[in-house]
Subunit: 329 residues, 2 copies
């Protein structure tokens, strides 16, 4: 299995990307193709002392910058590492693609270069978030700010298959993010979607979920339009940061706090690890014919390693084929 | 100043309501009218040893139950404590009304019995939430799941006046909850609202705010449609609960955790207090011609006390008049 990695996506490219790719090649038994400027990759590898042994380089002379218009990945920036990587994936030169670059461009490029699975209206960004006990999947986390009920039904199926095949959750509980639990709650979009999901026998639909229950493990797959999903995702991040910041202050702002910190250290580390997005890999773009994983923009080597691990699982589980069959039936 | 209190709203009515009202009468220098069944109020006061000295009772034989249709407050349940209290407020028998009962009914009753300020399209529920350093206001937190740009512009003004007059924030920073900071981000509703808010000279509009920055004190007033606002409010609550639960487990799940807890106790209490909604009073229903405060359904005496304190501040600051003038200008 070969994973194509965008060596120039994200805030810490290329050095953290190379380190993460090296770790994955060593530990996960995958082959790696690095997309990006060959001489820069070799120079960075030499200065960071990262061996490129066994890795392929797919030369791409430019980098897709965050401020570019997403659609420009198709023409003006078709020689960027992201574009070149996506085209290699589409051509079958690899089994999955990982990038920490622009989400918008990855979405446009994924949709138009890699293409959607037949029957999928729109690709969605799915985020894996830490819950009270186990992680859960949230989609759409921001790709489509305006949605129809049909799109949301699509997302429910995409998420359900991903939760089964990649997160290894048997019969995942799918819920619709809404402002009340009853069937008639929310706006017309939510009401119509509720009816569609209830009637869909391919999904274990457990009803509406209120946002209060989201962190609590109330569902394995949470379906939302991309606007609502993005609000949930980012508030989740922001609240996590606020609370860990307050925790830190609680220990450091107290003259005897360091004593407390010593005794609570194991628990603090466990909590920190549990809330750390880097452990959960990246966000899969679901609905595409081949796996594309969006790693966090601030990914370090560990986050890239986990994103590659996730890409491997997606490729291994033949996600697109399973989704296609479920959509047909 | 006289505050009318629904003695039978919420999970802990009437005993916690009576205790909270007593506290407020003693400490805040306000007069209290308790709306509800007189004999039950007297019996509860006697058994809980709460003095009713100086408080009026406005007899209402029934209770508006949570499962009733909100609109039924107008006819079938017009003899409920909530309905009787609202009508007394409308008739000028008090300066503000506090209830921990059904939000939907309070909204319908507030709108149709107390009436809106001229020029206000819809009343909004505003929630006061704990931020990183100071609390902020979120509206609409759930009254209107479908909104127009005009409604959102109204909410921005209502929130801005409330933040100035009640939260005592000079020139409050107003932001629009959106999925990106740039003007063209989000759906058409967000884009149109951005333009209206930018052009409105009555508001200190600072632009879009991403959900990640919401807990961080990024704005004093956050404007959202009621669907998005309710998602934010409830996720905020849920995340707060998750994190404090994890904190507890961190200390108790560790053999030496209790030692840590002893040393961190001051910090823990401070954190707990900072994240405790009971300290912030209730949620004002903004846009009504007289102040109506929705206290949390699980309010105890302390929460009721703070809601009455807040009701007093609203009445004292002549909120409706200031809003009216701002709308006219």
């Amino acid at each position: 299995m070969r994973i194509i990695v965008d060596a120039f996506g994200g805030d810490h490219a290329p050095h953290e990307i190379l380190k993460g790719a090296r770790l994955a090649a060593n530990k996960l038994g995958v082959e790696i193709t690095l997309a990006g400027d060959e001489s820069q990759i070799r120079a960075c590898a030499a200065s960071c002392r990262v061996s490129l042994a066994g890795m392929d380089i797919l030369h791409a002379p430019t980098v897709f910058q965050m401020e570019y218009e997403p659609a420009s990945i198709l023409k003006e920036h078709s020689d960027s590492s992201m574009s070149v990587g996506l085209k290699a994936l589409a051509a079958g030169q690899g089994d999955a693609f990982v990038s920490a670059g622009s989400t918008g461009a990855l979405l446009v490029g994924g949709t138009l270069l890699v293409k959607r699975i037949r029957g999928v209206r729109r690709a969605a960004i799915a985020a894996v978030l830490p819950g009270n006990t186990v992680p859960f999947l949230l989609l759409d986390a921001g790709a489509n700010s305006e949605c129809t009920a049909e799109m949301l039904e699509n997302f429910a199926l995409l998420g359900s298959v991903y939760a089964q095949k990649v997160l290894q959750i048997a019969n995942p509980r799918v819920a619709l993010a809404n402002i009340g639990t009853e069937e008639n709650k929310g706006d017309p979009l939510r009401q119509e979607t509720f009816r569609s999901l209830k009637a869909n026998t391919k999904i274990n639909f457990i009803g509406n979920i209120e946002a209060r229950e989201i962190p609590n493990g109330g569902a394995d797959v949470i379906v939302a339009d991309g606007f609502t999903g993005n609000i949930i995702l980012k508030l989740y991040e922001g609240m996590g940061k606020l609370m860990t910041g307050k925790l830190k202050k609680m220990f450091l702002g107290n003259p005897l706090g360091w004593v407390a910190a010593v005794f609570a250290a194991g628990g603090i580390l466990k909590l920190k690890r549990q809330m750390d997005y880097k452990e959960y890999g990246g966000a899969p773009l679901l609905g595409l014919s081949r796996p594309v994983i969006k790693a966090h923009g601030s990914s370090d080597a560990k986050a890239i390693f986990h994103a590659i691990r996730q890409a491997k699982q997606c490729a291994k589980s033949n996600l697109a084929q399973v989704i296609k069959e479920n959509l047909k039936a």
